[in-house]
Symmetry: C2
Amino acid sequence: MAFPPTPVSLRVKPGPNRLAVTGIGNAMLDIITRDSNEVFRDLGLVKASMTLIGEDQLSRFYEAMGPTIEMSGGSVANSIAGIAALGGTCGYIGKVAADEFGERFTHDLASLGVELDLAIARSDEGATGRCHVFITDDAQRTMATYLGASNQLRVEDVKEKLIARSEITYVEGYLFDLPPAKEAIRKVVNFAHEHDSMVALSLSDMFCVDRHRRDFLDLVTSDVDVLLANETEILALFQVATLEQAFEALAELGVLAAITRGAQGADVATMTGVVRVPAHEVEHVVDQNGAGDMFASGFLYGLALGADPVEAAELGSLCAGEIITHLGARPEGDLEDLALEAGLL
Amino acid sequence: MAFPPTPVSLRVKPGPNRLAVTGIGNAMLDIITRDSNEVFRDLGLVKASMTLIGEDQLSRFYEAMGPTIEMSGGSVANSIAGIAALGGTCGYIGKVAADEFGERFTHDLASLGVELDLAIARSDEGATGRCHVFITDDAQRTMATYLGASNQLRVEDVKEKLIARSEITYVEGYLFDLPPAKEAIRKVVNFAHEHDSMVALSLSDMFCVDRHRRDFLDLVTSDVDVLLANETEILALFQVATLEQAFEALAELGVLAAITRGAQGADVATMTGVVRVPAHEVEHVVDQNGAGDMFASGFLYGLALGADPVEAAELGSLCAGEIITHLGARPEGDLEDLALEAGLL
């Protein structure tokens, strides 16, 4: 461990019928390939970022890939799977199609005990979303995403029931990529406010922030309690050059934020200042895919249990350390056992 | 490394339009889950073995599984993927259905440059085969296999073209599980003899050997040049109690054999005696799934290049060492680079 175990402060598990966190995001399957030769460049992708592609491009991308591994993905869905692996109760709201990928996505969360409120897309709303992930030898991942049904989430698809029972409601920034989802986010946030559920937001991707800066800023300014982002995303949001400037902007807004910084760990920005939580040391980084999502699992679950933000970030760091040792963005091991061993739960 | 690099003896890559190895086997997708609680026992499975299940049981097995990872599998197909990852030219003969799993199986071998001769099942011959793999904390895998289309391989599905160009023809023992496949195996072996292709056979599974001992013995006695098996399989074949007795039986038949023995390495039984090749040391064994298949990749590719059997087994050991460090039975890394670094290619 990179830091000594922190004594576990007063932690309170959510009561009966309560949920620690409900997430709302793009439901999708990951199609993962090793790409030592950086073939993704021939497809016009920018390294380490996410590019949106249409249904007509699916076969071109798949054919360009080497052998693949498939598993459920979606940034906020990954975080929810992580919280379930930590032993937390949680919910998930999203949209899939009535196809095989949709069934698999549903199975993988349901088998972890996650309560699901999944809308099923009409046949004209596309297939279940999928993300083509190219892992290079430096463990970076470059993504091409077909949103499909996932981003056809409409206002009428968002129901109150899971949000009303949740300590935290966690919203995926990627949802901003289609207009109907924006209205749905508004409805989610209103439900959360009504039921005293904290609102957490992931900025998802710097290009996504560029596409929807105004909407993101409005939401962060008026509705968000907890913000999760990496360095490039938070700089893009405030259009500033340094993290110090970003922290000032966050302090003015009174938003608790965790800024993940890869091997350097995470900066937790609270009302009283910024604390650096080191990354959990691992022997060999295989795939950074999911590191931010798993950090969010530990961070949000810690907050939901009443841990202070720095302790919560230490739990986040532990979870991120597990995910980068293997391919894929969903945890393989029992995160609860890991956290108990480390004295973080 | 557990042994010093061996000087590379005279190795000859197959000439233009030649193939090192063509495999024939059960084409299937693996559906892999971590099973810390040994849930597979409730499904009636025997630990570390393979059980056949019917189409009507698919949903029951899938629903009992935790979150899954999907990737192409099939024992001999895995070995062929491993040879391709070693830089070898190879072919594969099998049968899939015209469904999504069939497409993915095809994609994954084709993207490695494997020449395919895949028969497509009629709609009444079942879906593409799939294997439910339960990985326990001791890295053992317990399997429930739906053969589906894969084992509807008929005599008319087997063509001469790939076998005629191959140094070695590699047959999967699992194919014996349906009568039409037995006739197809006969045809494969005849083609191999006509074209001076060595015949290699995998015994696949001890229960499979029990089901078809007579057929296996006939084939080994009269047609097989190279036999691949683990300890339990070879004892089951000859119905003997010790490996020494099995080696005597092999010597009488004049068959070259490699017997994989897990952490103890592999015993190579040649005309001149038995040599133990140690297992390649790895830090942490995650999943033993595919270890035998990858050993076969290195062993058969080495033989196809003209290496002596012990050198070939060292290459097999190196490949097996890669696969057990991660989930799944297909290689993630570049085996050719690994082998070149180790001085084995």
